[in-house]
Amino acid sequence: MTQAAWRNPLRDERDKRLPRIAGPCGLVIFGVTGDLSRKKLMPAVYDLANRGLLPPGFGLVGFARRDWADQDFGQVVYEAVRQHARTPFRQAVWDRLAEGFRFVPGTFDDPAAFDTLAATVKELDEERGTGGNHAFYLSIPPSFFPVVSEQLARSGLTDQGPDQWRRVVIEKPFGHDLASARDLNRVVNEVFPEESVFRIDHYLGKETVQNILALRFANQLFEPLWNAHYVDHVQITMAEDIGIGGRAGYYDGIGAARDVIQNHLLQLLALMAMEEPGSFHPRALRAEKIKVLSATKPVGPFDQTTAYGQYTGGWQGGQKVLGYLEEEGIAPGSTTETFAAITCEVNTRRWAGVPFYLRTGKRLGRRVTEIAVVFKRAPHLPFDATMTEELGQNALVIRVQPDEGVTMRFGSKVPGAAMEVRDVTMDFGYGHAFTESSPEAYERLLLDVLLGEPSLFPVNEEVELSWQILDPVLRFWAEQGTPEPYRAGTWGPESADAMMARTGRHWRRP
């Protein structure tokens, strides 16, 4: 019997307890010595195993330029897991998992190393029964993609038999403009067909982001208001209080817009603005996202509707911090922006005339990511002007991190004899009580890769559309030259406030 005709008698859709365990498979991580791998990937693998979601006989292969044996690699994973894993450590789980660890030393241009890797993977299939199913996680700079994919193809690692799969996982940046993104997609697609390419945008693995769809489409309360009749504008903010840290080599020349707006913020915009999908099938979701992204354009004139800046040194949160240009490894006179804000419009009937403001930056007031839907004022207020002096606009704020949840802001009467209305907030602390146990974004995404469930991964069309939105702004900034300086610990340069003030609006202080 073939896979398509087979119906597993033990699966019943009413049986909601049964988790989907990935079938026999293995994971190969390139760049296994990196920060991301130690802090996120390895702990996520352990947490998945601890929750019983990995198949028995799972294999984990590390590939890096280190003179390690399998045990040394095991030790590195062990330390990473003890330090960063979310779930409690269980020796029995660890012992079973550790049996599947392998390490292959080598560089990306060394054919011999890839042959060893191919042999190791084959050996895993025989010893551990990984069944010829393998995911390759490229936790490496994109400049290495061509050589690694070529080596993977050459050593036969990408050949899959019937009933087998090979998948590749790549991370941002997906290029630095439309042209380079297309090049990159071509390089990867030469070796892996698009349906086996998984682009990780870890924001999409966050519970709160997935909750956007539940909030919008499972409730009757919000969706009727979700359009230009009631919404005045939308602000999407991702702020970090840290500087570029040790990532100078990656960050300089890339900047805030490419690093964050192109992927995270435009994906959030798509989820906020998209129409209701016909079903939650990956294809239906993706179709809606693509529709809304292709209707999205940046609003000009860019000198008035966008802002970009670079942080300078000073005191922030009780610490003396360096300015961007003084950070180690930054080219003197670099014009890379560390703050970026743009205005977008979504040209659909639902959103006509509603600006979407996107901003991101480093060394801002505090670390926060949130989406604020700001509603129009009531068309008529049957109160004296003095009564509603303190009443602002109603708002619905989705806090993505930290302190995940939803806040609603509305007017309420101040207790007392006089009729006086003031803003109050109502809070839903999704994250507050759930943080301990809700899975990490990487956990969810890794499992989806192993299950072959693509709905939380952007496809190349989405990536290219995002670049199409951002490219005109980037070109304009490149012509303008030096970004406007702003002091560390503030909420960005003055031009950021000016771009909002122009239409009588202002940024919410998150």
């Binding site: 033990l10 198949p55 028995p56 006989g57 079973r96 507050h432 009580a433």
Partner: protein, 406 residues
């Protein structure tokens, strides 16, 4: 923070709760359900509260513990409110009921239920004969019992079957989820063949083993036989016979399972007995009727009870069984009995050959049985151990929270 309210009434408890919320901020906001734990006052009470506190991290809830004290005492209600660090992400209200009040728990619970939120009732020890008609069970949308904690677990299952109502569930069923998930995933993969017969082996007093057999009988519609190993050993193994060979999942030592399939190397998997905390988290995740559990209970009479075997068949014997049965079992169902006898024989020879090797295993089984019998005690001990380790996660969450405030 722990506040004692001796000799009190529920309206005073309610007043105190509101007062605490005013002082301490949003203590009681964002609770998604009320969990009512019904126990006899004793060691078991704290173990249950600990499990509920852990579960509350995923499901913020109000926990009401109805602890029934001695019936002979004078009627009195002692209450205790725990919030903050002492209660995980929940708020715990312990109601100790004495004298005639001990049987009137429902009347004390009603005023304390969260408005408009689901109610879950949990009996960590002995459950009422018909949970859905118990005064507290009637308040609840979901009723959690634990057959394994009853005096006669197998008998308890029969009672569950006869008294089943929508919303009933049992922790003996929850403990099976990992087993069931592994078996279902094994059938997700090629070769896609029909299962012809199945054998489930486990401790004579293990209700989970019976439920697993029932589940297979209900969904595969094949002869399923249930073999017994000495009481106290829990789930031991499952064999699904198919034309090309058997799928076998066995856990001889109670913690590590081995999954064997034809054409594939044996794979080992961590398969320890799930703690009450994990089971409770899973239970609270879904509040709708569990139709699969219902179907499983109804299929229990279909399961053939095989003879008790003195020692668990070790893997060699099981493998021999896998080799012998497919030919006979698939062609003539009558032959199944014969082959089963062959299995038993193989098991006894294998065990006698390895008598020295399996002796420690048997004694370990005995020890486990002991701890299972005094179930309440062992769980409380476990939780005490966890209690010592607990400060760590608590600290971590504290750090996280303060980071969030910053």
């Amino acid at each position: 923070m722990i506040i004692d309210l001796p000799a009190t009434t529920t309206s005073q408890v309610n007043k105190k709760l509101v007062e605490l919320r005013d002082q301490g901020g949003a203590v009681a906001l964002g609770r998604v359900l009320t969990l009512v734990i019904v126990t006899d006052d004793g060691e078991q009470t704290e173990a249950a509260v600990d499990a509920a506190n852990e579960a509350s991290r995923e499901h913020p809830c109000r926990v009401i513990v109805v602890a029934r004290g001695p019936r002979k005492a004078a009627a009195r209600l002692d209450a205790q409110i725990r919030v903050g660090g002492d209660a995980g992400a929940s708020e715990v209200i312990v109601l100790r009921l004495y004298g005639p009040l001990a049987d009137e728990g429902a009347s004390c619970v009603v005023p304390l239920l969260l408005p408009d939120a689901p109610v879950v009732a949990w009996w960590p020890g002995n459950a009422p004969a018909v949970p859905s008609e118990d005064p507290i069970g009637r308040l609840a949308t979901r009723r959690i019992t634990d057959a394994a904690a009853e005096k006669n677990p197998i008998k308890a299952l029969e009672t569950r079957r006869d008294s089943y109502a929508e919303g009933d569930t049992d922790l003996a069923w929850t403990r099976l989820t990992t087993w069931r998930a592994l078996l279902a995933s094994a059938l997700d993969l090629p070769p896609f063949e029909k299962v012809t017969s199945a054998t489930v082996t486990g401790g004579a007093d293990s209700p989970s083993t019976d439920l697993l057999a029932g589940w297979l009988a209900a969904y595969l519609d094949i002869p399923v036989s249930r073999r017994k190993t000495p009481a106290g050993e829990g789930m031991h193994s499952v064999v699904l016979e198919r034309k090309s060979g058997a799928v076998e999942l066995s856990r001889p030592d109670g913690s590590v399972g081995t999954l064997t399939q034809p054409g594939q190397p044996p794979r080992r998997v961590a398969l320890q007995r799930r703690e009450n905390r994990d089971c409770l988290i899973e239970e609270l995740r879904r509040l709708d009727p569990d139709e699969v559990y219902d179907a499983t209970l109804r299929a229990l009479p279909k399961v053939k009870q095989a003879r008790t075997i003195s020692r668990p068949a070790d893997r060699g014997a099981a493998k021999a069984a896998a080799k012998t049965t497919p030919k006979a079992g698939a062609a003539k169902p009558k032959a199944a009995g014969k082959s089963r006898r062959a299995v038993a024989a193989a098991a006894s020879t294998a065990t006698s050959a390895k008598a020295t090797a399996s002796a420690p295993a048997a004694s370990a089984g005995k020890a486990e049985r002991k701890s299972a019998k005094s179930g309440a005690k062992s769980t409380s001990e476990k939780s005490a151990g966890r209690g010592k380790a607990a400060p760590k996660p608590a600290k971590r969450s504290g750090k996280k929270a303060s980071g969030a405030q910053r």
